[in-house]
Amino acid sequence: MKMPPLDEAVLARRDELGAALRAIVGAAAVIDNVEALRAYESDGLTAYRQAPMLVALPSVTAEVASILKLCGEREVKVVPRGAGTSLSGGALPLGDGLLLGLAKFNRILDIDYANACAVVQPGVTNLAITRAVEREGYYYAPDPSSQIACTIGGNVAENSGGVHCLKYGVTTNNILGLEVVLMNGEIVRLGGKNFDAAGYDLLGVMTGSEGLLGVITEVTVRLLKKPATARAVLIGFAANETAGDCVAKVIAGGIIPAGMEMMDRPAIHAAEEFCGSGYPLDVEALLIVELDGNVREVDEQIDRICAIARACGAVSIRSSANEGERLAFWAGRKSAFPAVGRISPDYYCMDGTIPRRRLPEVLRRMTEMSARHGLRLANVFHAGDGNLHPLILYDANKPGELETAEKFGAEILTLCVEVGGVLTGEHGVGVEKRDLMGTMFTESDLAHQQRVKCAFDPAGRLNPGKVFPILHRCAELGRVHVRKGQVRFPDLPRF
């Protein structure tokens, strides 16, 4: 993975920068010794490692503003980091850059039930928000599998999803306001506790911007009332095609389940062995469908789904009889990644989205790729919204296997784009899919995205090397190509 070349001039001024940072945040909040820096060398995408030049751990917005202004003036690159659970290398440090850790921003500032929202600092974990409000019957809807560890700031940066986002939306649909520090040290507030923010939807632009546009220092999230009841049903199929067909028929039948997940045979076996969720082992594909709402409504919808499943040829159907069973059904799915980690020394998790109807074809072609590369594959799949998570099993200790896994992964993502899908559904581009952006976007598409970057961070110092294969100079992008005189008054219908 090629990262921006190290700036020797910046490295030479490392100690000066460290002293200036200590003056802002205090000595205890700056890390500069080699051993301690190593703790930050990678995020959830552990295949790539790079220790940062320095780490700073500010605890208030004013410190973040001073740090960014300082780094802007001294031409130092900055990589923001929450809990470091990114699966796309979004928080991969730079050897000549400052790693800005937001872990000390860990307080819930305001819980406002009357307006069904909470104001939290970015270092609060996703699950901690729900934990803080659940006694009043509320929760925060997006639930990425890493929710116990991942922070809300990181969720906003990556626009994280989860297993319930088909019905309740992803992060961008569930936040109301942000406080953001720009690379020039200016602090802007976007949105608030009201539904519609004024002006350009920069709240929407910040969400999913992968730490390239600004540093998030406060988030206002929407809280939802927990539904009266939730039930899940496990449906086994003898073939992936019929499982995919069932998913399409449920949605075409007008039902949007709270969650609809699919696992293939290797994933089912790995998860069952890990968790003992009670998954059937004699099926090729397993759906977990969850319905929530009022009691009779949920029962009725479960009946309808079971009828659709039977008509599609389901070989096993089991609905949760109580809350314990429902949670057990999910435990297997939610620990699919570590479960696969037990059956293989290493795994590489992909994240493309495809139009659902192309699923059988995509699964077939992935199986062919698996045979060709000699690497096993397990699939978990947010079936409702077409978000695939193929897990490529490999062994990093075997020479060449990581490279083969990366090549295999790139082929999968290219296939997703080829069938009308996208490179990433919820994990982000990061460094991982950066060089594949050209398969989905033209030069002009990427140039327009980078124009947004130029408006926020014209010198390109915030998280460079991520998302874009080539970072154009803003001066170059800003040039207006006027071909005056060449284009005559256009010959178009006028009246």
Partner: protein, 408 residues
Amino acid sequence: MEPVFRPASEAELCAVMTWALGESVPLELVGHGTKRGYGRPLRTERLLDMSGFSGITLYEPAELVLEAKAGTPLAEIERAVAAEGQMLAFEPADWGPLYGVMPGQATLGGVVACNLSGPRRTTAGAARDHVLGFSAVSGLGESFKAGGRVVKNVTGYDLSKLLTGSHGTLAALTTVTIKVLPAPAETRTLALLGLDDRAALGFFGAVARAGVDGSGLAHLPLAAALRISLDEVAREGTAVTAIRLEGTSTAVEERMAELHRLAAAKGTVAILDRDRSLAFWTSLRDVGPFVADHGTNALWRVSVPPASGAAVVAALAAGRSIEHFFDWGGGLVWISTPLADDGGVAAVRTAAASVGGHATLVRAPADLRAAIPVFEPEAPALAALTRRVKESFDPRSILNPGRMYPGV
């Protein structure tokens, strides 16, 4: 009448833009022109009519995805999705009648450019939550796209959000891909008569805490209630507080029983069946109570934290003659003010800002819209960022210049 460009292909549109860029000629973007009275008045000499980009180009009900050219009439799209039992869940408003235009003329591009939504905003989101991708030509005369044709996607910056609600100041949309959802099988509304503002908004809070999932929460004080035709209001002569329930018939029945129990303790209750419910919410969606005030009043759209809605109105109403109603459980306040004192701009903005909200002057004579900020003024750092974003996409200011803010 100003000269009109009406391109019918992306190549023609790029040619128009390139010419306008070269000559620094600003353009006013229109679809069917239903909302030309929205925003700061433009001083453009030429219209860029996008209605030539029309037609649904892709609709896959089981994938929940529809793509159409930006000038496609919204009515055509709504007919197509209704035929498959689906809907645009954000319930796009038709503001044409507010500006004296016949209803049913709005285009997809116009609704997206203005980020319009309806009463279902609180549970389903606004247009911005349903735009999955687009193609457009920017003020640099270059065509580009963003997003995709699938419902879950985080590849690259979410430019769909940036373009939605940008009022045609960044790019001319040519194609828009949106998410569609199943339409509810049943819809009914409970109307509670006789509550004042504070009690009504308090009731919405109690309903939410009880877990009754209303997909429309509106309160019309008597003056506004009398402006829509509702037999119960005419008969009782009282304000009306309305809560809409949608879903399967079982779900609606179950929730209605609970809602009825909560409401019966507060006052007289009436139930609007499907047809009356649809008519009521469509009227509210399109700001029906204030359509008739054209030319005599200023119409404000005030977005506030829902629980603060009543306090904002109370602060404004002291010593002033205003009319108002609430949507979004109190989070959206429509306020009609006299034109005197610049439409009450100072008082409206102070009241909105005091609770962290903002106000937009949706309808007023052009001279008033030129004299005062139509959209909430931004703090200096944010205003500078907004300007940089505008310059990044439209460096020569040829697209609806000044529609949102001076120079933007």
